[in-house]
C-alpha cells in the first residue's frame, strides 16, 4: 500500500535547524496569490528541500477590506448588506449571526417562521458550500470531472436561493428581526427535486472519488491532525470531527430550530485529508435529510418579521455578546459590542479559517510533498476573506 508507507516516512528535515536559503539546499517558492491551486486569494511561502516542504508561511491580506472598521461606521441596518461579503462562498452564516447578535442585544425575538426559514437557508448554504468544496478537493488532486459536476449542482442550489431570496450569491435575506420574505409558490417541490439530484450526485461521487484508488493513495495519510493538536490549535468543525471529536454546535448548543430536527453528528477517526472529505461528504447527506424535514415541518404562514424600531435611527442598547453557529468549517462567531449609539462600538468576526489556514496549515505543511500542498490546503477548507475580513 502506497499510502501506508507514507505515514511511516519521517521528515528528513530537522525542524530545529535554521533554514539557510543561501546554502543552495533549499528552494523557496510562492504558491499564490496568482496560482490555480490556492483557495481564494492568498499565498503560501514554501521552502522546499527537494520535493519536501520544510517551511511554510501563510500570507493573507490580499482580500482585506477592513470590514470591522467599516461596520463601526454604518448603522445597524446598513451593516446587514455588508456582512455577507465577509465569506464569499458562504455568506448566509454572516447574515444569520449578525442578525442574531443584534437581535439579542436589542431584545428582539424573531418569529418562529423566520427561524425555520433561516434554518432552511443556512442548510442550503451549507450544501452549496460543501458542493463547491467537494469539487475543489477533487480538482486539487487532479480529478477535474468532479469539480465540473459539483459546481453545476451548486448552481442548482443557487437557483433555489435566487427564487427564495432574490440573489444567487449574496442573498441578504436574513435581516435583523426576521427574514425578508416567505417561500415562493412551488418552492418546496423544486427544492426537493434539487435535493434528489444532489443526493444522486453524492452517490456518484462516493463511487468515483471515495472508492478511487488514486484518491485514496493521495489523500490517505495526508495532513494528519492528531487529537492532541485540536485544542491548542483551535481546530473546530469537520476538521475536528474527522479527528474523532463529536463537537457540533447544532447539537451541543442548538440555535434556531436545530433542536427540532433529527440528524447525526458525523465523525471520523483517521483525521487525514481523506477522513475530512468523508466527513463532509456524509454531512451533506445529513444536511439533505435535515432539509427534507424542514420542508415537511415548516409552518407556512404567520409573521416572519418581528416588530422593529425605525431602522433609520436605530439605537441598540449598550451591551456585548458572542453568537456562534456551526458553519461548514466549524464555529463561526460574531462578537458584538454596542455602546447605546446608532453605531457598533466593535465587531469581531471569528472565522474558523483563521486558525485552519494559518497556524494549522503552517504546521501540517511541513514534511509534506509539494504536490500535496494544494490538496492539503483544500482539505482544511478555508476561506481567506474570513481570515482577513
Amino acid at each position: 500500500m502506497i499510502y501506508a508507507k507514507r505515514r511511516k516516512r519521517m521528515s528528513t528535515q530537522e525542524h530545529n535547524a535554521p533554514i539557510d536559503l543561501e546554502s543552495g539546499k533549499y528552494v523557496k517558492i510562492w504558491q499564490g496569490p496568482q496560482h490555480p491551486g490556492i483557495t481564494g486569494n492568498m499565498a503560501l511561502e514554501l521552502v522546499l528541500n527537494g520535493d519536501e516542504v520544510v517551511d511554510c508561511k501563510t500570507h493573507v491580506g490580499y482580500l482585506h477590506r477592513g470590514f470591522e472598521k467599516l461596520m463601526e461606521r454604518r448603522t445597524f441596518i446598513q451593516n446587514f448588506p455588508i456582512v455577507c461579503r465577509i465569506a464569499v462562498p458562504e455568506p448566509t452564516f454572516n447574515e444569520y449571526l449578525y442578525a442574531a447578535a443584534v437581535e439579542e442585544l436589542a431584545g428582539i425575538e424573531s418569529p418562529q417562521r423566520a427561524q425555520w426559514l433561516r434554518t432552511l437557508n443556512l442548510e442550503l448554504m451549507r450544501l452549496a458550500s460543501y458542493l463547491m468544496w467537494l469539487g475543489g478537493i477533487g480538482a486539487s488532486f487532479g480529478q477535474a470531472t468532479i469539480y465540473q459536476w459539483t459546481v453545476t449542482h451548486r448552481d442548482y442550489v443557487l437557483d433555489l436561493f435566487e427564487e427564495m431570496t432574490g440573489a444567487r450569491v449574496y442573498h441578504m435575506y436574513i435581516v435583523p428581526g426576521g427574514v425578508r420574505a416567505g417561500l415562493p409558490e412551488g418552492f418546496e417541490d423544486r427544492a426537493r427535486a434539487v435535493l434528489d439530484g444532489v443526493e444522486r450526485l453524492l452517490n456518484e461521487i462516493e463511487k468515483v472519488l471515495f472508492k478511487n484508488v488514486v484518491f485514496k493513495a493521495r489523500a490517505k495519510g495526508l495532513g494528519i491532525i492528531s487529537k492532541e493538536m485540536v485544542d491548542p490549535y483551535g481546530i473546530v468543525g469537520p476538521n475536528a470531527r474527522a479527528a474523532g471529536f463529536t463537537r457540533d454546535l447544532r447539537r451541543d448548543e442548538p440555535y434556531l430550530v436545530y433542536d427540532q430536527l433529527d440528524f447525526d453528528v458525523v465523525t471520523g477517526t483517521e483525521s487525514d485529508a481523506y477522513a475530512r472529505a468523508k466527513v463532509r461528504h456524509q454531512e451533506m447527506r445529513e444536511g439533505i435529510r435535515m432539509m427534507r424535514q424542514i420542508l415537511e415541518q415548516m409552518p407556512t404562514d404567520g409573521p416572519f418579521q418581528a416588530k422593529m424600531p425605525n431602522v433609520l435611527h436605530w439605537e441598540v442598547p449598550a451591551g456585548e455578546t458572542y453568537v456562534k453557529a456551526e458553519c461548514t468549517r466549524g464555529e463561526y462567531g460574531y462578537y458584538l459590542v454596542t455602546d447605546g449609539s446608532q453605531y457598533l462600538r466593535r465587531v469581531h468576526v471569528r472565522g474558523p479559517s483563521y486558525t485552519h489556514a494559518i497556524a494549522v496549515m503552517e504546521k501540517l505543511a511541513v514534511g509534506t510533498n509539494i504536490a500535496d500542498i494544494a490538496g492539503l490546503m483544500v482539505s482544511l477548507h478555508t476561506y481567506p476573506p474570513e481570515i482577513e475580513r
Binding site: K207, V208, V311
Partner: protein, 595 residues
C-alpha cells in the same frame, strides 16, 4: 488497494451518455427569478422624492436629482433617485424603505459597458430596457422597515368628554412620544408644506433624543404659538408626510405638543435666551391673535417697541374665542401669550381701531403697522328667513362659551356647515346637553374640518346629515323654536374638473324643527375703519387684503397678515404671516426692503 477501488472510478463515464448540464443559450434562457434583485425601476408618478432611499444607502449609491418636467409641489420634492451602479450592491434596502413603494427592482441584470461613467441613471426617467418589467424584487406585504401605525394617544372617553370642557386629548407620554418620533424618516417634505416652514424633522429628532429644550428652541425659531399649534394646528404637514403613504402619517402636531408639554413656562426665557435690546423703533400691531402676537414676538426679539391693539378684553383672538377649551385649554394658550408679553410687548385691550384709535394715527405715530384683525363677521346663509332670532352664529356660540356666558342653544340643535367652527359649535352644544344634527352640503370626505374633529364629533354623538342644502328658515309653532327646510343634494361632477358640486333635488325636501340653528359656514372681515384715502392705495379682493412680498401693502408702512390677508384662514398661516411681516418690517425699517 482493492480491485473495486480500481474499477469503480470508471463510473464517471456514465455521465458521458447523459444529457449534458450545459444550457444552450444561458443569456436568453435564464431571466432572473420573479423575486430577483436586478436593476432598479421607479414609478415616477408615485415617487415623492423623499430621499429616504438615499439616507439608508450605505454605499452612497443614490443621488437625489431634478428630473425634467417634475417641479416640487406639496408632498413631492420633485427630485428623483439617481443610481450609481459603481456603488450599488443590490441589497434593496432602498426598496424596502421606500415610503411610497414606488421604487422596485426588475429582474434584469445585464449591463456591460466600456465607459465606467455610464453606470449612472435615474430609475424610471432614463430610458432603460428594464423599465416596466413585470418581475423583480418588491417589498413583501408582511415585511416592513417602517411602521405604518401611529402611536395611539390616550383620550377622554366620549361619554366622559361630554360631561365637561376638560381637554380631550391627553398628550403623549415621554415613552409614546419617543416611539412616535422614531417613525420619522427625516425627509423634510413637510417643511415646505407647513405654512410656517417649521423645522419639523429637527424638532422631532429632539423628541427622539429627549432633548426638549433644544426642541423648544427649534420651535420658537418659527412659531411662538407652539403650545397652541401642538393642539389645534390644521397640520397640513401630516397630509404630505411620506410615511402616510403606507399607513398613518406621523403625528407631527402631537409631537410638537410633546415638546412644549415638557418644558415649564418659567424656564422659557432661560432656554430660549431671548434678550431684548431696544432699538428705538416703534411698531403698532392691530389684533392680538396668533398673527399679531407672533409678529410682536419676532419684532420684540429684534428690539422693536411693540404695541398691540386688541378690541377684546383678552388676547388670543380666534384661538381664545373661536376654539373651545376642550381642544385648547385656556392655560395652554396663556402659556404662549404670556411668554410673548413677558418680553415687553404692550397690549392695549378693549381698544378698537376706528373707535378708540384712528387708523391714520397709527400710520402717523408708528414706524410701521402690522394689521392682523382676523375675520369676525359670520357669513350669511343666504336663505330666506336667516335673520330668525333662533338662528345663532357659530362664532357667537363659541365666543359666549369662552366668555363663560350661556349661549342658550336649547335641547335640539342643528349646525349648518362642515368646517372646524361647525364641529366646535356642535361639540360645544353637545356639552351643553343638546342633541346635535350637523347639516352639510357635500359629503363627509369633502368637509373642510379636520378628520379628527369629525371623528370625535361623531364619537360624541353628533348626527351627521350630509348632502343637505338649507332652503328656507321659518317660524315654528313654538316661538322658542325654529323650522328649517332643506333638500337632498346629488353630487354632480364638475365639467371643468373641479370638485363635484352638490345639486339640489327639488323633489326630496325635508322639514325639521329645532330649538336653534347654528350657522357656521364661514366668516368674513370688516375693513370699514380704513379711511377712504388710504383705502384707495391698498389692494383688496373679496373683502380681504392682498399683500405683496413680506406681507407689505402698497401703503408701505402697512403690513397685513392673518385670516384677513390669506385664504387658508388658520392659526399656523397667521403665525407665519406675522413672522414674515416681522421680517419684512425689519427689512423695511433697516432700509433693506425697497418697495
Amino acid at each position: 488497494m482493492s480491485l473495486k477501488d480500481l474499477i469503480s472510478p470508471f463510473y464517471v463515464w456514465q455521465r458521458a451518455f447523459e444529457k449534458p448540464y450545459t444550457q444552450k443559450h444561458p443569456i436568453q434562457e435564464r431571466p432572473g427569478a420573479p423575486r430577483y434583485r436586478g436593476f432598479h425601476v421607479n414609478v415616477l408618478e408615485e415617487c415623492v422624492g423623499c430621499g429616504t432611499c438615499e439616507t439608508i444607502c450605505q454605499n452612497h449609491a443614490i443621488d437625489m436629482v431634478q428630473v425634467e418636467g417634475l417641479e416640487p409641489k406639496p408632498g413631492d420634492s420633485g427630485l428623483r433617485p439617481k443610481f450609481d451602479y459603481g456603488r450599488c450592491c443590490w441589497c434593496a434596502l432602498c426598496v424596502d424603505i421606500c415610503t411610497t413603494r414606488s421604487l422596485r427592482m426588475s429582474n434584469h441584470y445585464a449591463w456591460i459597458t466600456e465607459d465606467p461613467t455610464d453606470f449612472n441613471f435615474i430609475a424610471g426617467a432614463d430610458n432603460m430596457s428594464w423599465n416596466g418589467e413585470e418581475y423583480g424584487y418588491r417589498r413583501d406585504d408582511d415585511y416592513h422597515l417602517l411602521r405604518g401605525e401611529r402611536v395611539k394617544m390616550e383620550m377622554l372617553a366620549p361619554e366622559e368628554g361630554l360631561k365637561s370642557f376638560e381637554e380631550v386629548m391627553k398628550g403623549y407620554t415621554e415613552e409614546q412620544a419617543k416611539d412616535e418620533a422614531d417613525r420619522c424618516v427625516e425627509c423634510g417634505l413637510c417643511v415646505a408644506t407647513c405654512p410656517a416652514h417649521m423645522s419639523i424633522p429637527d424638532y422631532i429628532k429632539t423628541v427622539r433624543e429627549g432633548d426638549y429644550e433644544k426642541g423648544l428652541r427649534i420651535l420658537y425659531e418659527t412659531n411662538p404659538f407652539s403650545s397652541t399649534c401642538g393642539r389645534i394646528c390644521t397640520h397640513r404637514c401630516e397630509e404630505v408626510c411620506p410615511v402616510g403613504h403606507q399607513g398613518e402619517p406621523l403625528a407631527i402636531r402631537w409631537l410638537k405638543r410633546a415638546i412644549v408639554d415638557r418644558v415649564p413656562r418659567e424656564r422659557y426665557r432661560e432656554i430660549l435666551g431671548d434678550e431684548v435690546v431696544e432699538n428705538g423703533k416703534q411698531v403698532a400691531i392691530v389684533g392680538a391673535g396668533p398673527g399679531g402676537l407672533s409678529a410682536a414676538y419676532y419684532l420684540r426679539r429684534q428690539g422693536y417697541g411693540v404695541t398691540v391693539f386688541e378690541a377684546q378684553a383678552r388676547a388670543g383672538g380666534m384661538l381664545r374665542y373661536g376654539v373651545p377649551s376642550y381642544r385648547l385649554p385656556d392655560n395652554q394658550l396663556d402659556k404662549d401669550i404670556e411668554y410673548i408679553r413677558s418680553l415687553g410687548v404692550e397690549v392695549r385691550f378693549n381698544t378698537c381701531i376706528g373707535r378708540e384709535v384712528q387708523f391714520a394715527e397709527l400710520i402717523d405715530d408708528y414706524d410701521a403697522v402690522f394689521m392682523a384683525i382676523g375675520l369676525n363677521v359670520p357669513s350669511s346663509l343666504r336663505v330666506k328667513g336667516e335673520d330668525h332670532p333662533r338662528v345663532l352664529s357659530g362664532l357667537q356660540v363659541l365666543d359666549d362659551v369662552a366668555s363663560d356666558k350661556n349661549p342658550g342653544v336649547g335641547k335640539n340643535v342643528a349646525v349648518i356647515g362642515g368646517g372646524n367652527v361647525a364641529m366646535d359649535a356642535a361639540r360645544v352644544s353637545r356639552r351643553m346637553g343638546a342633541n346635535v344634527t350637523v347639516l352639510y352640503r357635500r359629503r363627509i370626505a369633502d368637509m373642510p374640518a379636520d378628520p379628527e374633529e369629525i371623528h370625535e364629533s361623531q364619537a360624541e354623538g353628533c348626527t351627521f346629515v350630509t348632502q343637505a342644502i338649507p332652503v328656507e328658515i321659518k317660524d315654528a309653532d313654538n316661538p322658542d323654536q325654529v323650522t328649517i327646510v332643506w333638500g337632498e343634494a346629488e353630487m354632480v361632477a364638475d365639467e371643468k374638473g373641479g370638485r363635484p358640486r352638490p345639486v339640489l333635488q327639488e323633489d326630496r325636501m325635508h322639514e325639521e324643527t329645532y330649538d336653534c340653528i347654528i350657522s357656521a359656514i364661514g366668516q368674513g372681515g370688516s375693513l370699514d375703519f380704513i379711511p377712504g384715502d388710504y383705502r384707495d392705495q391698498i389692494e383688496f379682493k373679496w373683502g380681504k387684503f392682498v399683500p405683496g412680498d413680506y406681507q407689505q401693502t402698497a401703503l408701505q408702512k402697512l403690513f397685513v397678515g392673518g385670516d384677513i390677508a390669506n385664504n387658508t384662514a388658520d392659526a399656523i398661516s397667521a403665525i407665519e404671516d406675522g413672522h414674515h411681516a416681522a421680517r419684512g418690517i425689519h427689512k423695511f425699517l433697516t432700509g433693506e426692503l425697497v418697495a
